[in-house]
Amino acid sequence: MPEFIAQTLNGLTLAGIIFLVSSGFTLVFGVMRVTNLSHGAVYLVGGYIGYSVIGATHNFFSGLAAGALAMAAFGYLLERTLISWLGRSEMAELLATLGLIYVLDDLALAIWGGSPVTINLPGFLGKSSTLPGGIVYPNGRVFILIVAAAVAAGLYYLLRRTRIGAILRAGVDDRDMVSALGINVRRVFAFVFSLGALLAGFAGVLGGTVLGLYTGGDSDILLFALAVVIVGGLGSYEGAVVGSVVIGLIDNYGTAYFPAVAYSVLFIPVIAILLVRPHGLFGRAGT
């Protein structure tokens, strides 16, 4: 039983990282209808930048901030150039970001090399403590869980309780109407895209502590994010929350109990959901 609880906690930790990645992905899709396939690469590069900054400053939190902010700046640039040049053509954006994966991966390989690296958590976070019930569990994972929950709550507040959130939700429903109301859609798009990239970069540094950073890590995390949006529904915040928990837990139980098919058991809920609701639990037809 303690083993099962530890696995559940591991699954939730993974769910937290997946949520940070998939919420940005789904937000960008929901508001802008842009499928940013390079989101996983942004995660990886953000993690690597965090790793380098931590190496230089010996401060984990400055690395976390650097990875997140660098990727936010990159996201802003990307939106202002490539994405806006492509003029809102869904498939063209998808293909261009597919090309971007190869560029980012290759540059990451050139800069940080091919051997996997792991980010070490500082001080107290790097140790383990005994949870009620006698389970010894790393503090770092609990930290990730708490941070992800805090970000989820923050995003919920942003989306549901602020003016920006109202604009974003309106954008998901009817973009043309939002711009007709005199709201600067360009600024909204740039904000959303930067926010998505910020979350991915942030997740990259956090993920680097438990999952490590390695060539191909971007497509692994991208698949998680995609599985989440298939289960939860493209463009839905609630879908990202529920989907992340489902996918995180299933992947972790799979790795623990059915290692031969761990990667593939992910697909069971995905197929089950698709057969019943082709557009996901919280998705809508037409997306």
């Binding site: 498939m91 290759d106 698709l274």
Partner: protein
């Protein structure tokens, strides 16, 4: 093909003969010599004719000939290029060296890229999981041979498994389209990769499986490298011709209709879902065929053949070459294999270059390389039409 200028060659020949007769009464030395060469410098001719004071009818004769040559060469350029390419392929495949290996790789990948194009360019369903089905075909052969099936039985098993998997997964995949379809096929491809990587008992994991015994049928022994290469070429040609035939059939036309306006096609009584499903099955099956060829050519199948990067590469081939043209993606396969095998020798960051090339093509030439060729063809057609108009309005 876009519509060509109206006048038939026979009509033109008749006009040409009439013009010649008329010209014979003027200066005989201006009668053009018939030939297949490039078009004579027409503008210069016309100017000199005007200043020289010779009758304009002479120029008309030459103009007609030029027009005729242009139309003829426009018509025969495609088949001639195709024939030359076929000849070149046969020649290149003769050697046992690096070049023939490169060409065989191109042909195998081209089959996948063309199948992907049939699904993506015609049905509008871009699959980012196609390498997975290449892997299914290849692993099907390899695993069956490991379990002591004869090579032919292994081929049959591989194709049957690919087809069965396509039939089953298609039920899920073609329920959605557009971006959702890309995402779902990507997930499928990743799961297939995951199986090949993690299900060590079946797939031997990271090491992959080697295949050393190839099928033999009568006098055709695929264990002979040259026979194998020629077989790949024949299969490539068959798949290409089949796909081109499909695209020109009523089925292909209604597929395009499904892509551009599904609601209208559905209202007309077409079973649009079934159309997408059939296109999916065709694409998956031909990809499986390519997988069988792949494992025979390489004699090894390992998970890297079907990882995310490989899935992306096939889409890049199709998009670079030009979606919706079948031949374009084959060209894309050639370009990507050259990137991988040749450019990588000189440029260590060839993947960056490839990614940037894809981005540039998406930005600047959405029709891909084939789109550029088509645009050149259209310019040629326009030039022909312009000349024809000039001739018709000339005195």
């Amino acid at each position: 093909m876009t519509s060509r200028s109206g006048a038939s060659p026979r009509l033109l020949l008749r006009r040409l003969a009439a013009a010649r007769r008329a010209a014979a009464t003027g200066s005989a030395d201006r009668t053009p010599t018939p030939g297949r060469g490039g078009p004579p410098p027409l503008g210069a001719e016309r100017r000199s004719g005007g200043s020289g004071g010779s009758p304009p009818r002479t120029n008309t004769a030459r103009d007609l000939l030029t027009l005729h040559v242009m139309q003829r060469s426009r018509r025969f350029l495609g088949p001639a290029a195709g024939l030359l390419t076929a000849l070149l392929l046969v020649l290149l495949l003769q050697g046992n060296g690096f070049v023939s290996t490169l060409v065989v790789d191109m042909l195998v990948y081209a089959i996948v890229a063309m199948a992907l194009d049939f699904l993506g360019g015609y049905a509008g369903l871009i699959s980012l999981g196609q390498a997975g089905f290449l892997g299914v075909g290849a692993y099907g052969v390899a695993i069956a041979e490991v379990h002591f099936f004869s090579p032919w039985a292994a081929v049959g098993i591989a194709l049957a498994v690919t087809l069965g998997l396509g039939l089953a997964l298609g039920i899920v995949a073609v329920r959605v389209k557009g971006v959702s379809f890309v995402i779902i096929t990507l997930a499928m491809g990743q799961v297939l990769w995951g199986l090949s990587y993690q299900w060590v008992g079946l797939s031997e994991g990271d090491n992959g499986i080697t295949v050393s015994v190839l099928p033999t049928i009568g006098p055709i022994d695929l264990n002979d490298p040259l026979t194998l290469r020629m077989t790949v070429l024949v299969v490539f040609a068959l798949v290409a011709l089949l796909l081109v035939t499909f695209t020109k059939s009523p089925f292909g036309l209604s597929l395009r209709g499904v892509r551009s306006n599904e609601a209208r096609l559905a209202a007309l009584g077409y079973r649009t879902g079934l159309h997408r499903y059939l296109a999916w099955i065709i694409a998956v099956f031909f990809t499986g065929v390519a997988g069988v060829l792949y494992v025979f050519v390489n004699q090894l199948i390992s998970p890297t053949t079907m990882d995310f990067s490989a899935n992306g590469l096939f889409v890049i081939m199709a998009v670079l070459g030009g979606l919706g043209s079948i031949w374009g993606p084959a060209l894309g396969a050639v370009v990507i294999v050259l990137f991988q095998q040749e450019l990588s020798i000189y440029v260590s960051r060839w993947q960056t270059l490839m990614g940037l090339t894809l981005i540039a093509v998406v930005l600047l030439s959405p029709g891909g390389f084939w789109g550029l060729l088509r645009a050149a063809g259209r310019r040629w057609d326009a030039a022909i039409a312009r000349r024809q108009r000039d001739l018709e309005t000339a005195p």
